[in-house]
């Protein structure tokens, strides 16, 4: 406001000096025309609309998310303004009214036209663009300018409406989160499986009496290493592991890679135990049958035992994938926007926790249930015994 006042005072001063010093000429007329344009431009740029809520100024940001009635001033420092609004959601009143604007401790009166919001668009339709066509009239000159904004649906108060609103409005965010969750779980399980092959092998191979000193030492060393690894990763929560590697080391300088790393390492520990258990259940006769033909221990292991053990442990490994879908939620702690963290973000945008968490629970359930069903189908096709969904880590 003060800036405008300054401008006006400066303007008057300069104008006055020009009138005093120079006689009225053609040149002066041109000058005069320029000031008219400047005044109009000034009005276009600085005219303010007022919200019905405490008569606050409507910034462009608020105009883009309009939900309530507002006021349009009919005059700006001698520039009179008339309006046309073409929108089925808004109605411009014909009568002017006076509102009291706060100006520091005092109030000033302002003559305005009220714009009533007739109804809000529903959430399916989404935001609706509207245009306020304002015509500025000043000293027989007129200027037309279009102000754009969006009228936005409001979140309903009831649960179902709120849930529907959340789903439609933030559906894309949920989808992105679900995609990331699936990606991390899948890659984590696959990488974990590969790592688990080595871990399980190290843990299963036992030294034989015929081994030389070095071979014996290496076998025992890797055996202990693998056991320790499995104990540590199964004995600590993944949320701690994730925090340790990300906040402790800033591993890879990328939270997503670090998260994938942690999920893979964690899953590997569990799958290694699954494979080891599965190897133990393979009939001893398979080993004997192979050894009795002259195959070595390692050949027996690679060609006969391991393929059978891995095939048998496939249902449990698939189950580990399903568990990972749920457990990757803890990666929110290192700032990965997987499904759970996306939901937290959504609740911070509209403060409707009940609806948001109900939806995300449903999404998790759909993911785990459908993937379990698919895995069961595959297992049935491959003639394996399907495994029930068991407890999480």
């Amino acid at each position: 406001m003060r800036k405008v006042f300054k401008k006006v005072i400066l303007f008057t001063l300069v104008f006055g000096i020009i009138i005093v010093i120079f006689p009225k000429t053609n040149a002066e007329y041109i000058n005069n025309a320029t000031t008219e344009n400047e005044t109009l431009n000034d009005a276009i740029e600085n005219v303010k609309f007022y919200s019905s809520f405490n008569y606050q100024t409507l910034t462009q940001d608020k105009l883009n998310k309009l939900t309530a009635d507002f006021y349009l001033p009919v005059e700006y420092f001698g520039v009179s303004i008339s309006y046309v609004i073409d929108s089925e959601y808004l109605a411009l009143s014909q009568e002017t009214e006076i509102i009291n604007l706060r100006q520091g401790t005092s109030t000033i009166e302002k003559e305005v036209l009220k714009v009533t919001v007739l109804n809000l668009p529903n959430i399916i339709k989404g935001e609706q663009e509207f245009v306020i066509q304002a015509t500025f009239n000043y000293l027989e000159k007129s200027f037309t300018y279009n102000y754009q904004g969006f009228i936005t649906p409001v979140i309903p108060d009831d649960f179902l409406g709120g849930a529907l609103y959340t789903l439609v409005r933030y559906g894309k965010m949920f989808l992105e989160g679900a995609g990331l969750t699936l990606l991390i779980s899948l890659i984590g399980t696959v990488l974990g499986f590969i790592l688990a092959l080595f871990l399980a092998t190290a843990k299963i191979i036992a030294p034989t009496p015929q081994d030389k000193a070095l071979g014996r030492f290496l076998k025992i060393f890797f055996n202990k290493l693998s056991s320790t690894y499995i104990t540590i990763f199964r004995g600590t929560p993944m949320i701690v592991q994730a925090s340790f590697f990300w906040y402790g080391f800033g591993l890879f300088g990328n939270a997503l890679l670090c998260g994938l790393f942690v999920v893979s390492l964690n899953t590997a520990a569990y799958i290694a135990e699954i494979i080891r258990g599965s190897v133990n259940t393979i009939d001893k006769g398979q080993t004997e049958g192979s050894l009795a033909l002259g195959l070595s221990y390692s050949q027996t292991f690679i060609f006969v035992i391991f393929p059978q053990a891995i095939k048998n442990s496939m249902p449990a490994i698939g189950n580990e994938f399903v568990i990972n879908i749920k457990d990757t939620a803890v990666l929110s702690v290192i700032g990965i926007f997987e499904l759970f963290n996306q939901t937290k973000k959504i609740t911070s945008l509209h403060y409707r926790q009940l609806e948001a968490y109900a939806i995300v629970a449903l999404i998790y359930l759909i993911l785990t249930y459908s993937i379990t069903s698919i895995l069961k189908l595959i297992e049935k096709r491959m003639g394996m015994k399907p495994l029930e969904l068991t407890s999480s880590n």
């Binding site: 034989t208 033909l293 002259g294």
Partner: protein
């Protein structure tokens, strides 16, 4: 010439001594049946010969050579002295053909194409040619055992050890396996057979060994052992069999 020589073989599991000094000589091409009651150590003796059980003491010489020192030597011995098990032990993850060619391919490093041809011939000889791409779980017990015999033959072994090959079979499937073994006996291969099929042992063997409490109690020509055993424990064991016969 002795292809296999076992000298004073002992085997203990903890404090329990199963083999108490077994001495045995096997000449090339001989077919030996090992009989005896359960727990007499017949199977353990057989499993010691290819080191599936490591003997506690004693010597096993295959062609006058001791093979026990390293894993490599033991593998070498096993490829020449193969075994057929009571429970078949076919590889469940491979089909019949793959079961046959795995060991010769990996151990003897033979060409796969030749091996497939040889596998079909061997399967034909045990009457299982039509089952070459079946998985073991789709075969009956008798068929499995015939495949197991074919698998052992694929290594071109010099001795085949049979560890109760018909004990896990339904009575009506025993015949088909014994027929295969009979035709195998004609090829001149050395066979050591632990069995409870007395009539089979009597008919096929060159020599019968009766084991009792961890030693070779009595041995000899099948006619003598079955019809005229000398020692009391042998008489007692064979009485039941002869009564049923």
């Amino acid at each position: 010439m002795n292809i296999l020589q076992i000298k004073n073989l002992h085997k203990s599991y903890g404090l329990e001594e199963v083999l108490k000094g077994v001495n045995l000589e096997v000449s090339k091409g001989e077919i030996i049946s090992i009989i005896g009651s359960s727990g007499s150590g017949k199977s353990t003796l057989l499993r010691c010969i290819n080191y599936l059980e490591v003997p506690t003491s004693g010597e096993i010489l295959f062609k006058d050579t001791d093979y026990h020192a390293t894993n490599k030597l033991i593998q070498n011995l096993r490829s020449k002295v193969t075994m057929v098990f009571q429970s078949f032990n076919l590889f469940d993850n491979f089909n019949v053909l793959e079961n046959l060619i795995l060991a010769p391919q990996k151990v003897l490093k033979l060409n796969k194409k030749d091996l497939i041809e040889k596998a079909y011939q061997t399967l034909d000889s045990v009457g299982m040619k039509d089952f070459s791409n079946k998985l073991p779980k789709h075969l009956s017990g008798g068929q499995k055992q015939r495949v197991a015999i074919a698998r052992a033959l694929m290594m071109n072994p010099e001795i085949i050890l049979f560890d109760e090959p018909t004990s896990a079979l339904d009575p009506e499937m025993v015949g088909e396996v014994l027929d295969v073994m009979k035709s195998l006996a004609k090829t001149g291969i050395t066979m050591l057979i632990v069995t409870h099929e007395m009539s089979f042992a009597k008919e096929l063997s060159d020599r019968v060994i009766f084991m009792n409490e961890g030693i070779v109690y009595e041995e000899g020509n099948p006619d003598i052992i079955f019809n005229n055993p000398k020692l009391p424990r042998t008489k007692e064991f064979l009485k039941r069999f002869n009564n049923n016969f």
